[in-house]
């Protein structure tokens, strides 16, 4: 199917690539379906593009790239909602904020996105303990 996006124009996505948020991303209650697009081949960045809102897209990145020991303690309820039976079913991404000075870019390690690609379900998990920061600076000493 074709979806319209403000950043990438009209793009063709397969029905089975569409990911449904089991709960909306906080702050964006009306957007329930997304697709994950590669920014470019080989780029660590991906786009989480809304299917329901052409103008809504987030930059996401695999946190293990810069924090190899990053783990999301998934509550039983969330695992159930996401129908994750095996850890291997879960893909974890974090949202990237690129402020006006792009060298200050940060990743939100406190609110990761957990995706079950097999079932095409996703949820932003809010970690209640303080083990990971809301704004993890991605560029060390930049």
């Amino acid at each position: 199917m074709k979806i319209t996006t403000t950043r990438f124009g009209e793009i063709d996505v397969k029905e089975d690539e569409i990911i449904h948020m089991v709960e909306p991303i906080l702050g964006f209650p009306y957007s329930k379906r997304y697709v994950i697009l590669n920014h470019k081949t080989g780029s660590p960045f991906k786009w989480l593009q809304s299917v329901d809102d052409a103008g809504l897209a987030f930059v996401i990145v695999d946190p293990r790239l810069f924090k190899p020991d990053y783990v999301v303690p998934l509550e039983k309820e969330d695992a159930e909602k996401l129908q994750i039976e095996d850890e291997a079913d879960a893909e974890v991404y974090v949202f990237v904020v690129i402020p006006e000075d792009p060298k200050e870019m940060s990743a939100n390690l406190k609110g990761p996105l957990v995706v079950n690609r097999k079932k095409r379900l996703a949820k932003q998990i809010v970690l209640i303990d303080d083990s990971y920061p809301l704004r993890y600076k991605l560029l060390k000493g930049a």
């Binding site: 920014h39 949202f95 690129i98 792009p102």
Partner: protein, 90 residues
């Protein structure tokens, strides 16, 4: 705003299936127990608001800046890798 006074071990019920119980009061802190359907997420408000603000900021990422940033990110990640290898060796 509806205001109710409750003592320890007393609850309020919201709708059919949400219960909020006062478990303990210590100084200025109140410990609440919440029973709610598991499809409802319960957040501490300040964390909820912070995540929401961060999400809104994340939704404004400029695509044209990504190409230059990805090189910086990959280099920075390599540095992290090297320093953790050194830690492991030491």
């Amino acid at each position: 705003m509806l205001v109710l006074t409750r003592k320890i071990d007393e609850s309020i019920i919201i709708g059919e299936d949400i219960e909020i119980k006062v478990l303990a009061i210590t100084g200025k802190s109140v410990k609440l127990g919440i029973i709610a359907p598991k499809e409802l997420s319960v957040y501490r408000k300040e964390i909820y608001e912070a995540i929401k603000r961060e999400n809104v900021a994340a939704s404004m990422a400029p695509p044209d800046k990504l190409d230059s940033l990805e090189k910086l990110l990959i280099n920075s990640a390599k540095k992290t890798e090297r320093s953790s290898e050194e830690e492991n060796r030491g």
